[in-house]
Every structure is written in structure tokens, then in C-alpha cells.
Symmetry: C2
């Protein structure tokens, strides 16, 4: 698939997972793509926890339900009504969950390019996530990033060391379809901004 | 270009910029790719400042030289010698610089998916940067991410408001080549880690 087709076809998937198995060679290509991302000082500070265990996914799903309610309680009127109709995760329906983490000590203590901006290590992990997302889209798999969770809960659930930060819980697997329009736009939550509004020349 | 070819061909470019102009249609496709990235709550919290002005680029380059010296002063022995031979930016030689920023207020106050993890907005900006990087690679352009700078300096230089955070200074333009091996590995700074060491199953 052409890279622009992939970039524009990619969606944050919640409701369309079929639960069918992911072909092993496709998963290998997707993980190798993530691992080929750029990273500050070539630190490659990411790890990937592949979560199949239904008990672990069930426990995470229950936690996310609680956090969904926490967010819902902050909304009023129209926003509350719109949010009530939006599915925010496919943890149980997707074929696999992949938790991506950040190790700030990897490649240290002197990480080339990180002395002035500590967050650049975290940025690297996100670049790996986008590689993963695009490769999965090219394999006709869906990806949904779940962020309705508390990091300490996820750390305890997976036995992640205190020094490592979980960055994302990704639901991955075959999907019935990729929608043309993002879920949140289809559900009236928010409309996409024109690119022209995001461009500046030489000065803000 | 096939997406896997792009992902594995992509490099962080410093020394290979030719300075030739970027075709306008290629730049349009690259920026549209960045803007098509996923974002928490569809907030699209990024902006892109296209910096052509030689005076602005010169001032930034001088600042980066100072920060390079700051980092160099933390190194000892072999590391100091290796770092001395590594070019860390192509600010003056590349055709265009693109500064990517993060607006935490975009789409607020209740950004869907951000109540539990404030950094998810910042993560979105990084996903846009990786889209930009891959699209540029497909256009046979090089990209180099410069992170040897202090955010307040860059904010003042470009007149970026206090509420907006600069995330990256990207050097972009035609290149003589994309090396097969990352610069930092070619220069003996650090070797890439095998993917197998980054994989965990069900539990850390």
C-alpha cells in the first residue's frame, strides 16, 4: 500500500474489531516497523508488552470503565449526551493488546540530544507507536489507542518496574472496516481543523 | 514507495542536505500527511512554523552550537572523542526548517482521552511528526530532528506564545543520499538493540 494511502486511511478503531487472529508474519512486520523508529541518541527507549491473557485484559477493561465514568462526570449538557454514545475502546473485542513503555535510563546517562529537553525520550516512544499504527493499517489491521487509565494501575497490572513509564495501551487486530471519517467527527464530538489554520511562516 | 520501504529507509539526516528547493507539491503532501495524524480527542494540537528566514535560522544555529558545547562538557574520554566527530544538525544546509508546536488548550477544556494522562496531547504532536518524517522520506527528502536547544529560547526567537510548547525543530530538504545505517551507529556512538529484547508477553 502506498504510504499516503496508509496515512490517510489510518483510523483510531474502537468498534470494528472482528477478533480474528493476527497472522504471525504480519505482526512481526508491524513490530519491526515500530522498532525501526527514530529515537533520541539512538536510545530506542521503548518496550512492547503483548497482552493476550483474557484475565489481564478484563481487569484493564474494568479499570477503563471506571475512568470513562470519571471523565463523563466532568461533562455537561450536549457534551455529556454526545459522549454517552461514543465507544472509547475495543479492549475485549480486539485480537491483541500491545502496551508500549518508555525507559528513561536506556542509553544513559548521557543521551545524545536529551540534555536540554528531558521529554525527547518520551517523544521517541511516540514515533515508534506511529510506525506501528501505520504498518498495522497497511496490513489491514485496526489500532485503537486507549488512554482512559491511570499509569500506576497499568504498571501494577503488568508488573512494570517503577522506573519505566507506560505510554500507551493499543488494541490491535483485524477489523470489519476502516471508516472514512474519524469516529469522534462521525459522532459530532469535534470537527477536524483545516491544515491552513495550523501553518505559520517564519514567525508565529 | 511501499510503506515498509519508507519506514526502514528513513534516517535522521544531518550531513547530506543539498540545499536544493523542495517542490511545492511535495511539501503540501508532507504537511497534509502530518496533519492527518491521530490526536487525543481529535484535538489536533499541533502547529507548523515554516522557517525560511536565514537570519532566524542563523540565530538558532548559533544557540545550538552553545548547547552542543554544554552537552560535550558532560562527556569524558572515549565518549567525548566520539561526540566530537558527530554532526548533530543541518540547520543552515537544509532547504527549510519546520518547527512543530503543541497547544494544550486546543479542543479543551474537556479533551476526550486526556483527563487521566496530561501528556497524551504532547504524544499526538509526535505522531504528526512521524507522519511528516515518513512522507518526506517517500518524497526522497531528508529530515533531521534538532533537540540541542532550550525551549524558552526558541519560543522567544519565533514569537511563540507562552501557552504553546515547541516540540521539535526539523531540518527538511533534498539530500544526496539516505545512509543504510543510522549516523550514530556509523560513528560508533551506539548500536541498535535487537527487537527481541524489547518484547514481553502478558507481563513485563
Amino acid at each position: 500500500m502506498n504510504i499516503y494511502d496508509v496515512i490517510h486511511r489510518r483510523r483510531d478503531v474502537r468498534a470494528e474489531f472482528t477478533g480474528a487472529p493476527i497472522p504471525g508474519d504480519a505482526l512481526d512486520r508491524v513490530l519491526a516497523a515500530a522498532h525501526a523508529a527514530p529515537s533520541v541518541g539512538l536510545s530506542q527507549p521503548w518496550d512492547f508488552v503483548l497482552v493476550n491473557d483474557p484475565a489481564v485484559r478484563g481487569a484493564f477493561h474494568a479499570h477503563v470503565q471506571t475512568e470513562r465514568a470519571t471523565f463523563a462526570a466532568t461533562l455537561e449538557g450536549d457534551a455529556a449526551a454526545r459522549f454517552a454514545g461514543i465507544k472509547v475502546e475495543g479492549i475485549l473485542e480486539s485480537s491483541l493488546s500491545i502496551v508500549v513503555t518508555y525507559d528513561p535510563e536506556r542509553g544513559g546517562p548521557a543521551v545524545l540530544g536529551r540534555h536540554a529537553i528531558a521529554d525527547t525520550g518520551l517523544y521517541s516512544v511516540c514515533l515508534a507507536i506511529q510506525n506501528l499504527w501505520l504498518a498495522a493499517t497497511a496490513e489491514r489491521l485496526g489500532v485503537g489507542w486507549v488512554s482512559f487509565y491511570r499509569e500506576p494501575f497499568l504498571r501494577r497490572l503488568l508488573g512494570i518496574p517503577e522506573t519505566i513509564r507506560p505510554v500507551a495501551w493499543l488494541c490491535v487486530g483485524p477489523v470489519a472496516r476502516h471508516h472514512d471519517t474519524p469516529d469522534l467527527e462521525r459522532h459530532g464530538w469535534r470537527r477536524r481543523r483545516p491544515l491552513t489554520e495550523a501553518l505559520h511562516h517564519d514567525h508565529w
